[in-house]
């Protein structure tokens, strides 16, 4: 029995027991459903073994939406707990766990997955490629991410969640102050998912550098592809820092080393520095692709080419460089002294300049355009004012001396949510709605989409604006309760209502997917939005080979020019197309990674050894495998094209 005791949750409550039952039942229902409908073969052949960037993108999208749900429920529980003074809905221990998992899930498993979903689906299409550079590694990336996410979510019911904040600062996260295994989950699940992200980074850099359609010079790339390139460069240089920090944290916790401890020379501040050397670039890893999406959407629905393309590219590059030079602003109050703080204060404020350039470029793109207020455009237009408020308060926080007043108050919480929700979440929802027809062959309902938008936009403002005031009045973040006399009650109650608005918006989005899948017309043509870039030049939904003939490009908006200036994109005849073979190896290898991670969390060394051998065997088999892919014959391509479009090229 002793063996099983280590898997028990430390502070079990009825909610957790109910969740266990719910998870168990859902799992049984899913497995039974797949068996009943005899879908195991389909699932294995078409999804678990796929190396197609479009399907991997869709799997990322589904995972991201699931994680948005999980993180959103965490958020609602926090808002409900703090909605009135002295509330006893959650205990302090539960509250700590919930704000930790909310942050981790939203950043690592929702936002990262969402941008990876859209990059996966869109980038190869935008550059006229048939797939990414390394399709097999792409599948590996996804399954590493997926297993990391599952491992992290498992902590809720097996062994207990981490509770030292999403930043997991030491010494709080060390063995002495967090003796429970929760933080092990944090260290190891993020390590596994982070490995997947790093591989994605390398994969997309090579894809974008080496696989662009003939004629697409770097300065002719669509802006989303530009932002994807820079984001992946940031990933490649920032994630190794996280890898090292997490490895050191793991060693401190599992092997008793003294990197971040308070004795034997350990230095807790080293963790904070490493974490934010990765963490600040991470903010731009998330927000740059979002900027790319806004650039595409705003230009499409204003019926104009993007204003200031070159300055857009330059500002992305400048932002990505500054991203590595601002990390200390996350802990101005932690004793660097005035000189160091001043330098980081200036670099921080400097980021507002290239960001401002982008905001004005979007406004000038819309100026005198024929604006169509579709759902993606609504998110983009809504983004500009809300993000600007979030950004300006960021500059306030960046003033080191003033930061002593706001640091770790609700003012900060309001700031970063008002940056990251319009900056990332709005963009992801805009991008999802925009590219949805390419993914699934039908459009999401505009009317329900608009209702969802207004719920989300108003919900965001209502949830986070009051926090500015509560923060300035002195409410610290991560505080699970407060007294009546503190006077924070009204602001927190308003926040709770805003949270409900966001939840309503999410429900409407899910309903929209169901409703549109059921009722929307499939007869939408290849270009339902009257768009400008290459991804719209292929069929809807996109066939597995993407383009029957490789497009040839000579401008920034090749598809628009093809439509309006009569340029030809597809000059060659259809010939045999070379495609990579599916493989079960990435999935199987990542199952071993999952077992490996689980073993490490609980220090079950036999599991660790067995799964390490499994991983090594997979690597070895892969090394000896000879797989030159397969060909789709020209006649089959012609047949598919005829069925989908009518004209045979």
């Amino acid at each position: 029995m002793e063996f099983f005791e280590q898997f028990a949750v430390p502070n079990p409550t009825p909610t957790i027991y109910l969740s266990m039952v719910a998870i168990g039942l859902t799992l049984i229902a899913v497995l039974a459903g797949i068996s009943y409908f005899k879908k195991w073969g389909y699932l294995w052949r078409e999804w678990l073994t796929t190396v197609d960037h479009k399907r991997i993108g869709i799997m990322y999208l589904i995972s991201a939406l699931l994680m948005l749900f999980r993180g959103g429920v965490d958020a609602l529980m926090m808002r409900a707990q703090t909605s009135r003074a002295g509330n006893e809905l959650l205990s302090s221990a539960e509250y700590n766990e919930i704000f930790t998992t909310h942050g981790v899930v939203m950043i690592f498993f929702m936002a990262m997955a969402f941008i990876t979903a859209l990059m996966n689906f869109v980038v190869p299409l935008q550059i006229g490629a048939r797939d990414v550079a390394y399709p097999r590694l792409n599948a590996l990336s996804f399954w590493l991410y997926f297993m990391g996410a599952m491992l992290f979510n498992l902590s809720f019911v097996i062994g207990g969640s981490p509770s030292s904040g999403w930043t997991s600062y030491f010494p709080l996260a060390g063995n002495e102050l967090s003796p429970h295994i929760g933080t092990n989950y944090y260290m190891i699940a993020l390590q596994i998912a982070g490995l997947g992200t790093l591989i994605t980074g390398i994969n997309f850099i090579v894809t974008i550098f080496k696989m662009r359609a003939p004629g697409m010079k770097l300065m002719k790339m669509p802006l989303f592809t530009w932002t994807a390139l820079i984001t992946n460069l940031l990933i490649t240089f920032a994630f190794p820092v996280l890898t090292v920090a997490l490895a050191m944290g793991t060693m401190d916790r599992l092997f008793g080393t003294h990197f971040f401890t308070m004795d034997n020379g350990g230095m807790a501040m080293l963790w904070a520095n490493f974490f934010w050397v990765w963490g600040h670039p991470e903010v731009y890893i998330l927000v740059l692709p979002a900027f790319g999406i806004y650039s595409e959407v705003i230009s499409t629905f204003s019926g104009r080419n993007l204003y200031g393309y070159t300055s857009m590219v330059v500002s992305i590059v400048v932002i990505s460089t500054l991203a590595f030079l601002v990390w200390v602003h996350h802990f101005f109050t932690m004793g660097q002294g005035a000189f160091v703080n001043s330098i980081f204060s200036i670099t921080t404020m400097a980021i507002a300049i290239p960001t401002g350039v982008k905001i004005f470029n979007w406004l000038f793109t819309m100026w005198r355009g024929k604006i169509r207020l579709t759902v993606p455009m609504l998110y983009s237009v809504g983004f500009i004012p809300i993000f600007t408020i979030g950004g300006v308060t960021g500059v306030m926080l960046g003033i080191a001396s003033a930061d002593y007043q706001y640091h770790n108050t609700m003012f900060l919480v309001a700031h970063f949510h008002l940056v990251i929700i319009p900056g990332v979440v709005f963009a992801m929802l805009a991008g999802m709605t925009y590219w949805w027809p390419k993914m699934f062959g039908f459009m999401l309902n505009e009317k329900i989409g608009k209702w969802a938008f207004w719920n989300i936009a108003i919900g965001t403002c209502l949830a986070f604006f009051p926090m500015f005031i509560a923060g300035l009045d002195g409410q610290a973040r991560r505080m699970y309760t407060y007294s009546e006399e503190a006077g924070f009650g009204i602001w927190n109650l308003l926040s709770f209502f805003g949270g409900l608005g966001l939840a309503m918006g999410f429900i409407l989005i899910v309903f929209n997917v169901y409703y549109s899948a059921r009722y929307a017309t499939r007869d939408i043509g290849d270009d339902p939005w009257d768009a400008r870039t290459l991804e719209w030049a292929t069929r809807t939904p996109v066939p597995e080979y993407n383009f029957a003939v490789q497009p040839v490009v000579d401008s920034r908006e090749p598809y628009w020019d093809a439509k309006h200036e009569g340029k030809t994109l597809f000059k060659d005849k259809i010939s045999d197309i070379h495609m990579p073979n599916n493989s079960g190896m990435p999935f199987i290898m990542c199952v071993f990674f999952f077992i490996f991670g689980f073993g490490l969390v609980f220090s079950l060394w036999s599991l660790v050894i067995v799964s390490s051998v499994g991983i090594a065997v997979c690597l070895f088999l892969r090394s000896f495998e000879q797989d030159d892919g397969r060909h789709i014959h020209a006649e089959d391509v012609q047949e598919t094209e005829r069925k989908m479009g009518g004209d045979d090229r």
């Binding site: 550079a133 390394y134 790093l198 980074g201 390398i202 994969n203 850099i205 090579v206 550098f209 080496k210 696989m211 490649t236 240089f237 920032a238 994630f239 190794p240 820092v241 890898t243 090292v244 920090a245 490895a247 050191m248 060693m251 092997f255 008793g256 080393t257 003294h258 990197f259 401890t261 004795d263 034997n264 020379g265 350990g266 230095m267 080293l270 490493f274 050397v277 090594a616 070895f620 090394s623 000896f624 000879q626 030159d628």
Partner: protein, 198 residues
């Protein structure tokens, strides 16, 4: 598969070309990884927490053996790639094997060195300095050890399949990896050992 005969075999197909570019990007990520480990070491170097310090531990003889062995192995893998370009299979495989044997020697000496450190009273848990030192050296050593297994897999493929675009590509990429580990060692040699002994 289109083979471009005007290029060396390891660059001769599109996939080969992309694999090499991708590996360079990977090395970029590895540089970030080792830079972080070096950063941690420099910060924690003096924080010995009552345990032995760098000056007390480092010995010139094992250091010179390790350096000599590893630098030679980098030279031999360079020769192996050269032999591959000349189409000499036997020489390539022989030089590759010598590289791996030298690598094995390096790992052996490193393990001996760690054993000595533990005897001097420095283990992983002793201090922040010991943790940073073992992690930096250990990560490099683990890379070399991984390279040994990887190299064996490539040699078997060279023996079985001869020079094909795929095997030539793997051999070349392995040589990039091996040279990179050598460069890292030169930094360890200069900024860990020499600095520590001064």
């Amino acid at each position: 598969m289109n083979i471009d005969h005007s290029k060396p075999l390891e660059y001769s197909t599109e996939t080969n070309d992309m694999n090499i570019v991708g590996f360079w990007v990977f090395i970029g990520a590895e540089i970030a990884l080792f830079a972080t480990l070096f950063g941690a070491y420099f910060i924690l170097e003096g924080r010995t927490g009552g345990g032995p310090s760098a000056g007390h531990l480092f010995v010139i003889s094992t250091l010179m053996i390790q350096t000599f062995v590893l630098l030679t192995s980098s030279f031999t893998i360079g020769l192996a790639v050269n032999a591959m370009r000349l189409g000499r299979k036997g020489a390539t495989i022989g030089l590759f094997l010598i590289t791996l044997i030298l690598g094995l020697g390096f790992v052996g000496v490193e393990i001996y060195e760690f054993y000595e450190y533990v005897h001097e009273g420095l283990n992983l848990q002793t201090s922040a300095f010991s943790a940073a030192l073992f992690t930096l050296l250990g990560t490099h050593g683990a890379h070399v050890s991984f390279g040994l297994f990887w190299g064996v897999a490539i040699i078997i493929q060279l023996v079985k399949r001869g020079f094909t675009p795929a095997t030539a590509n793997k051999t070349f990429i392995f040589s990039l990896y091996w040279h990179f580990l050598d460069v890292v060692w030169i930094f360890i040699f200069s900024f860990v050992y020499l600095k520590g002994m001064m």
